[in-house]
Structure formats: C-alpha cells, structure tokens
Amino acid sequence: MEMNEIIRGCLDGNRKAQKQFYEHLAHRMMGVCLRYADDIEMAEDFLQEGFIKVFTNLKNFRSEGAIEGWVRRIMVNTALEILRKNDVLKYSVDIEAAKAVGDVNPDAFQRLTTAELLKHIQALPVGFRTVFNLFAIEGYTHREIAELLNISVGTSKSQYARAKVWLQKRIEEFNL
C-alpha cells in the first residue's frame, strides 16, 4: 500500500492502516527517541506518546515535507515535553568541561559504531544531552533551542560546547 493511501486510511481511523504506518516508521523513530532517553524503556515511552500524538494530529499534516520529517519533529517534541514535565531538564547535573582538548584525531568518530556513539551520548547528563541532540543531530539553532528549552541562547551554546568537549574526551579515552 502506498504511503498516501496509508495516510488516508489513518485519517479515516482505519486501525490496519495505523498499524502499517506505525510499522513503517517505528524502528527509525525508536532510534530518535533513544538519543533523548536514559534507556530503552524511557525511549519506548517517548515512542508511544509520540505516535498517539501523530495519529491524533495527522489531519494537520501538510505535505510540504516528508511525513518522516514531520513524525520525527513530533517525536522530538514529545520527548522534550515529557522531560520538561518531569523537570529533568531543570535539575540536570552539571558536567566538568575538559580543561584542554589538545589535538583531535579526525578519525576518532570513524572508529566508532553508531551504537557506541549513542552509548556515549546517553552517558551525557540529560540537559547537555538534549542540547547536543537538538543542535548537532536535529539541526536546530541555539536560538531555537533556547526557546524550546526556555533557556538563554548563551546557555545553549555553553552547554553544547561543554558537551562536545566532554564527548570528544570520552571518545578519545574509549579509543585508547
């Protein structure tokens, strides 16, 4: 069944179409949710809430972009909403920024699998991890991140820079 037909079926409340829609995107969205979550269980919670929002708001989908991009934005926003609701972002612990970075081996990341990279990202405190995800992977600007997380642009930049340095250092240690 074509994606357009599946979407129409979902709009009609057809459960079979909804399941097809879910099965088409769930594994990739799980990959997104995992980056924002502490563990798999938390990621599955994000995924569940995210898909409920997707189905109840599918009628608002305008086909200016791909459906996957639209669903991904809802997943990210759902994760942020849940994190914010639980005050996780507010009470995120600080990290000690690396005092010195030194020379960077450009191949450092290339020796890592995505799963290993994910593990390092998940090791970041939630606040830093969120900013890192939004800026480095989703492509948001610091200004947008500031609005999303209700923090200052400076805080967003600072947290991202510290997370990046921390992550670089951790990956270097891992590669040794």
């Binding site: 357009n4 979407i7 129409r8 709009l11 009609d12 459960r15 909804q18 399941k19 879910y22 769930a26 594994h27 990739r28 799980m30 990621a43 599955e44 995924l47 569940q48 409920i52 929002k53 109840t56 708001n57 009628k59 989908f61 086909s63 200016e64 972009g65 791909a66 996957e68 991009g69 639209w70 991904r72 934005r73 809802i74 909403e81 920024a97 010195a100 970075v101 960077v104 450009p106 990341f109 995505t114 994910l118 800026f135 480095a136 992977i137 989703e138 492509g139 948001y140 600007t141 200004r143 609005e147 999303l148 200052s152 642009v153 400076g154 600072s158 820079a161 990046k164 340095v165 670089q168």
Partner: protein
C-alpha cells in the same frame, strides 16, 4: 562563531552517523498505542455527543418556555380586551376562560366575516354531482491532543526538513541569526578545533536533484485538502409528519394565524368554534424541496444557504348531519430563504456529522382555498378561491446532520432537527398555526463543487 554557519563539519558528521540508525521497539508498544487510540476515540465521540445533546436540550427547553409564555400572553390580552368591553367582570367569568376566549373570537370573526360571507354558498350550482373520493387528504479535537501539541511552538514553524527530518537552512537565513552573547570563548575556541571535514552536503544548497522530490507537495493529499474547504451543492427534500386533530381548541388557535383579512378562513374558523360542527382537521405532511449551497471555511465550520419551496395543505371536515358535510381546505405555497451556520463534529473521508443552527425566512406566494359541500358523499357544490399571501414567516432551525460520501464528489445526507415558527399573525391558517414547534427532517444528495 560570529557570522558563520553554526553547524559545522562535526555536526554534519553526527547527522550522518544517526541518519539511518534504527531499532525495533517492543511489540507491546503498538498494543499500548492502539489501546490509547481506542479509548481516545470513544472519549471524543462521547464528549461531542454530550455537547450536542446539551445544546439541543437547552434549545428545546428554551423554545418550550418561549412558546408557553407566548401563549399565556396572548390569552391574557384577550381576557383583558374582554374585561374592557364588559366591565364589571365577575370572578365566575374568569373561571371559564375558554368560554370567554371563544366568545370573544366568535365576536371578532363574525364581525370580519359578516361582510365577506353575507353571500352564502350559491344555492344552486351548475357543477354536476361527483362521487367524493374517499381519500380526504394526502396526508442525531480540536481536540485535547491538539492543545497538547500546541505547546510545541516549533512544530508550527515552517521549517524545511530533509527526508530524515533534519532542518535545512538557506545560507542567507544562517547569516541573519544573531550570535551569542557571553560564553566561554576559550572553551568555544577549543571546541571549534574539533572539526572533521565532511563536506558531503553544503547546507542551503541542493546538490542532488533527488533532494527536491520531498519538497514537492503530495498531489493526492493536497487535492483532498482543497476539496474539504470548498463548495457543496445539495438537493434537499424536507418532510415532517402531518397531523390529524379533533381537539379544536389546540388546532384553531387564532392568535397565531391571520383570519381577519382572510374571509375564507374566517368562515372556516367561525365554523370551528361551533365545536360540534367540525369533525376533524387534517394537515398533510409539509413538502419541501430545494437547492442548498454550502461553503466550508475549515474542517470545523461553514455556512449554508439556498432556496426552498414548501407546500402546506390543510383540510377540515364538518360533522355529517343529515348526510351532509362541508370540507374546507387550503393549499399554501412558500418560497423560503434559509441561512445557517454548521459546526462539524465528526469528519472523516466517508462519514460526517455536524450541528446546524440557522433561520428560515419564508414568503407565502399563493394560497388556494376550496370549500366543498357534500350530500350523501356526493359533491353538491363547491367554491374555489386563490389569494396572495401577505407578510413573512420566520423560523429557526436546529439540526443534527449526518452525511455519507459515496465518492469524493457525491454523497447523501439526512438532517433531523427541530424547527420553531415565530407566529406573527400574518399567515393564513396552516399546520404551523396549530403548533409552532415541529420536528423536521431533510434528506438529499450533495455534490462537491
């Protein structure tokens, strides 16, 4: 980082690393989603039905109250007039309002009909006796989730994303972004040294034509959206049940109809007050046909108007005395201009449910009377007359509509409702004179324009 792209090679490298990253969730997640959706759907239907029911109940109660209040006032006015004319009035007279009421009406109608009906039915008629036909007359969000998602302000921003959902920005847009404020410059400088040169895709530039594919609107979906916001043409057939009454005090409530300028009806109403004279009155079911045009402004609401043609038919028959009876009847024709606002309650590709509230302005264009005298069920003589109808009839119409789209451009609908007629004493006697509140039912076909 002033004046330069915030997202550098490091970020691009990260995006690439996670672009195809996926993991299959536990199958139980779908079960939970499914369960939640079912519960949500039931709740939405319940809330909408509850709102509709409350609205209809409120409207019905309000109408009932207004209607009763109106009747009481009319009766009080009549009693007041009688009081003035026959002062002093004894308490016994108030204890018999029906008699007072009827006497006064009789007095009024007799006066007005005296002149017009001095010439009685012709004693001899040239109409040949015809056997009387035994058939006397033709006789039911944005919703909760939308408010939640509205919290996510950025969802509504027109961000352009690539196939994986990454945000794509033009170079100009990036240069306009304000750069920060006060941060650890030293730290940032160090961070900036973590550059990995991966110039696969330069942001803001389309290097591969395939990247354009997702930017094109989906023609099918776009088409559906356009159609849902356009015009609908409907051919409607309206009907309600007729009525057959033997209780003349309810049927012939002259406070709602105009008899003074209507000699034919005056004679007829005068007859009716002599209760024993009228055996029954039958109102055929009003017949309405028309064309309706509907304009939807969103999936939530729209307006509707059109042109309606209505025919009302009433026949009263006197009791048979010495094998003789008289039949009084009228056919009344109306052209109506309806206007209503509709609120969509359920909206899917096939099925729709809406609430409609509006008003109908009707102008009577013609009334045809007949009076037929039967002896031994044979038409002895008759009189026919045709008159213009003055004044207008205003009514409110509240309805719950159900529509089913057989194809994208064609569908059927049924619209049960409640119509309240505001009687202003300008209209001839008809089914609405006997009762101002009637159920209504419109059925028809709809075409998407």
């Amino acid at each position: 980082m002033t004046g330069k792209n915030e997202h550098t090679g490091f970020e691009k490298r990260m995006k690439e690393a996670f672009s195809d990253f996926s993991m299959h969730p536990d199958p139980a997640v779908w079960s939970r989603v499914e369960k939640n959706l079912s519960r949500r759907k039931k709740l939405v239907i319940f809330y909408r039905a509850a709102i509709a029911a409350s609205f209809l109940l409120f409207l019905s109660a309000g109408s009932w109250w207004l209607f009763n209040n109106y009747r009481t006032q009319s009766e009080q006015q009549l009693v007041s007039k009688h009081e003035t004319a026959q002062s002093p009035v004894t308490s016994e007279e108030y204890e018999a309002p029906d008699e007072v009421y009827n006497d006064l009406i009789k007095e009024q109608t007799e006066k007005s009909s005296a002149e017009a009906f001095e010439k009685k039915m012709p004693e001899s008629s040239e109409i040949k006796p015809v056997k009387k036909d035994e058939k006397i007359t033709d006789m039911f969000f944005d919703d909760l989730s939308e408010s939640q998602i509205a919290v996510q302000q950025h969802m509504d921003k027109p961000l352009t994303t690539d196939e994986s959902g990454y945000i794509i920005r033009a170079e100009d847009e990036l240069s306009e972004l304000p750069v920060s404020d006060v941060i650890d410059d030293q730290l940032l400088d160090r961070a900036d040294t973590i550059e990995i040169d991966v110039p696969a895709i330069v942001q803001g530039q389309i290097t591969d034509p395939k990247q354009l594919e997702y930017l094109s609107p989906d023609p099918d979906i776009t088409e559906t959206k356009e159609k849902s916001g356009n015009w609908q043409l409907a051919m409607t057939y309206g009907m309600i049940q007729g009525s057959n009454a033997n209780d003349f005090t309810n049927v012939y409530n002259d406070s709602k109809a105009d008899f003074t300028n209507d000699p034919f009806s005056s004679k007829f109403i005068m007859e009716s007050y002599q209760r024993s004279d009228i055996e029954n009155t039958t109102h055929s079911h009003p017949l309405t046909i028309g064309l309706m045009i509907n304009r939807s402004f969103s999936n939530i609401w729209g307006i509707e108007s059109g042109l309606l043609f209505t025919k009302l038919k009433s026949v009263s028959k006197t009791e048979i005395v010495n094998n003789e009876f008289i039949e009084y009847g009228n056919d009344l024709y109306y052209i109506g201009l309806p206007f209503s606002v509709r609120l969509n309650m359920l909206h899917s590709r096939r099925f729709g449910m809406y609430l409609s509230q509006g008003a109908v302005l009707e102008k009577g264009v013609r009334i045809r009377y007949h009076m037929q005298h039967y002896v031994s069920e044979v038409l002895k003589d008759s009189e026919h007359k045709s008159n213009m109808v003055e004044g207008v009839q205003v009514s409110s119409l509240t309805a719950l509509g159900f529509e089913y789209h057989i194809t994208e451009t064609f569908g059927v609908y049924a619209q049960p409702g409640l119509q309240i007629f505001f009687m202003n004493k300008t209209q001839p006697f008809n089914i609405r004179s006997s009762n101002a509140i009637w159920p209504s039912m419109h059925v028809g076909v709809k075409f998407q324009l």
